[in-house]
Amino acid sequence: MEFFLQVLLNGLVVGSIYSLVALGFVIIFKSSGILNFAQGEFLLLGAYVFLAISSAHAPIGAALLLTFAFSAVLGIVLERLVLRPLIGEPIISVIMVTLGLSSVLRAVVQGIWGTDTRPLPSVFSLDPIQLGPLPIARGYLYSAGCVAVLLVVLTLFFKYARPGIAMRATADSQQVALSMGISVRRIFALSWSIAAVVSAVGGILLATMRGGVDGSLAILGLKVLPAVIVGGLDSIGGAILGGLLIGVLENLSGGYLDPVFGGGVKEVAPFVALVLILMVRPYGLFGKVRIERV
């Protein structure tokens, strides 16, 4: 029983990180219909930029703010230079351009910082907190806190703030949004910069918990895809729930099936779930059902 609880708890806390990264995917997809395969590299770049700024003896708070500013600008620039020329192109081109982008970003990171693991200055202490009988790493609590805050903020943003409403309108129909005087281009740029900032938060949290940052951080960008699909590509709440679900599934299957298969179940279980959910409900738990017309 204790093992089950521990595994479940681990799943939830890892899932909270997945939720955070999944949010980035959903924000971009919701407004522009692009699935950004370079999300993992946004994470990576965020963590490295934070590392670079804070190793220049900047106070942690300032380093965080500068990193977020950098990510926001990065999102806008990439959207402007790379994604905008491809508006209206077939989906394969859009997928490939984000894959190409991910190669470029990874190459930049490798070129500047090399492939060794670099220790990150601690944003918070790493001693675990006792939750009843179970120890829980402090970083996970922070990430769960971040996710909760972001969930509230983003839900309010999409519901009440003007740019948020404009983003929903754009997602609904770009033509109607344009005719209502919404600048669709600005909305796209905004969604990319928000997604980049959210990813940077995820990257910094994850790197701190791992005790360092290296290229393997970017793999998370792919690992989160099942979470995004399970929740539904265009649902903020779905992304968060999907993240938690996949985190729990991953840890439960890893905990109970790893002895049977000799390890590695953790890595593949989310993708098996992905195939199953695609067969049954391709639009995910909370996604919008598309009706096809000729």
Binding site: L86, I92, S93, M96, G100, Q110, V265, V268, P282, V294
Partner: protein, 346 residues
């Protein structure tokens, strides 16, 4: 003097060679191609073999993605299936004449299984499903030790025919090149048949195709089958060429490389698959030559080679998508038409 080509019959329009000159050029090219293994150094023979294998795999992917419009991120997994079936069969003493088509058929079956989700999924979601297929195959390959040798990999005996062992790149080239040409010939002809045209109809508008009487699901699965057969054969040749295969030979980046090949070459074009595969196989080699030439002045360049390779690959894809979305094949067509219409080329 004639300016331009004018087809006056459907037959002429569908011909593989639209001019006699195209036929002659191809004949000369083939003679030169088969002369290369006789004179080339072992380094360039290795490149040639890898390029030819990449051409087969890229053509297979192009049949699925470029011609039928089904996006697949599972190509590395299909290559792995082809390669591991080859390793298994060859280790049990099956001659390569049987092994290569058998690997193709096994991969085709696997591909058709993974093609079943395409009944409901398209675009992005199908890409996700094939991505999942990649990770599932990778898991299976790593854990099914008795067949695949697990993480340590497995070795493949050299192919032999009538006691003559094809042990080096020179001998292998005479196996790989004809297989490659055969597959290209088949692909070129496939799209002159009903089946090929059904594929293209599904790509252009699948619901319309269904309305016109194309059995969409059957042809989608068939496209997965044909495409995976190609990729399986490529995987088989890859295994014979590499001689030792392990899960590390088939990372996700390999699948992305191959998508890059058909994007750079041109979606929905057999010529495009050739150009793209050759381009992306040569790109790292050219980079390697450049960095080793410049390493005298810039010693740091040697360490930067890996990120440089990755970055140049990414930038090439992004630039092609933005400035030449139809790929090298379209550019080639434009250049050819310029000279064909000369002096009235606008």
């Amino acid at each position: 003097m004639r300016s331009g080509e004018f087809h006056t019959s459907y037959r002429a329009d569908m011909a593989i060679f639209d001019t006699a000159r195209a036929r002659h050029v191809l004949a000369v090219f083939l003679v030169v191609l088969f002369a290369v293994p006789l004179v080339g150094s072992s380094y360039w023979l290795d490149v040639l073999n890898r390029a030819a294998i990449a051409v087969i795999a890229a053509t297979g992917l192009n049949i699925l993605t470029g011609f039928t419009g089904q996006i697949s991120l599972g190509n590395a997994a299909f290559l792995a299936i082809g390669a591991y079936s080859t390793a298994y069969l060859a280790a049990h003493g099956v001659p390569f004449v049987v092994v290569i088509p058998a690997a193709g058929i096994l991969t085709a079956l696997a591909g058709m299984v993974f093609g079943v989700p395409s009944l409901r999924l398209k675009g992005l979601y199908l890409a996700m499903a094939t991505l999942a297929a990649h990770f599932i195959v990778e898991f299976t390959v790593t854990h099914w030790d008795s067949v695949t040798g697990g993480v340590n990999g497995t070795s493949v005996p050299a192919p032999s025919v009538f006691g003559f062992v094809l042990a080096n790149d020179r001998a292998l080239a005479f196996l790989i090149l004809p297989v490659c040409i055969l597959h290209l010939w088949f692909a070129k002809n496939l799209f002159r048949t009903r089946v090929g045209k059904a594929f293209v109809a599904i790509r252009d508008q699948d619901i319309s195709a269904e309305v016109m009487g194309v059995q969409v699901f059957r042809f989608k699965v068939l496209a997965f089958g044909v495409s995976s057969f190609y990729v399986g054969v490529a995987g088989s040749l890859l295994a014979y060429h590499a001689r030792i295969i392990s899960p590390e030979n088939f990372p996700l980046s390999l699948a992305i490389d191959q998508l890059g090949m058909i994007i750079i070459g041109g979606l929905g074009s057999v010529l495009g698959s050739i150009l793209g595969a050759v381009f992306l196989t040569l790109l790292p080699e050219v980079l390697r030559l450049l960095t080793s030439a410049l390493s005298g002045q810039f010693p740091a360049l040697v360490q930067l080679f890996a990120p440089l390779k990755l970055g140049v690959f990414g930038i090439t894809i992004v630039l092609f998508l933005i400035f030449e979305p139809d790929g090298l094949a379209a550019r080639w067509r434009r250049i050819r038409n310029y000279f064909r219409l000369y002096p009235f080329s606008y």
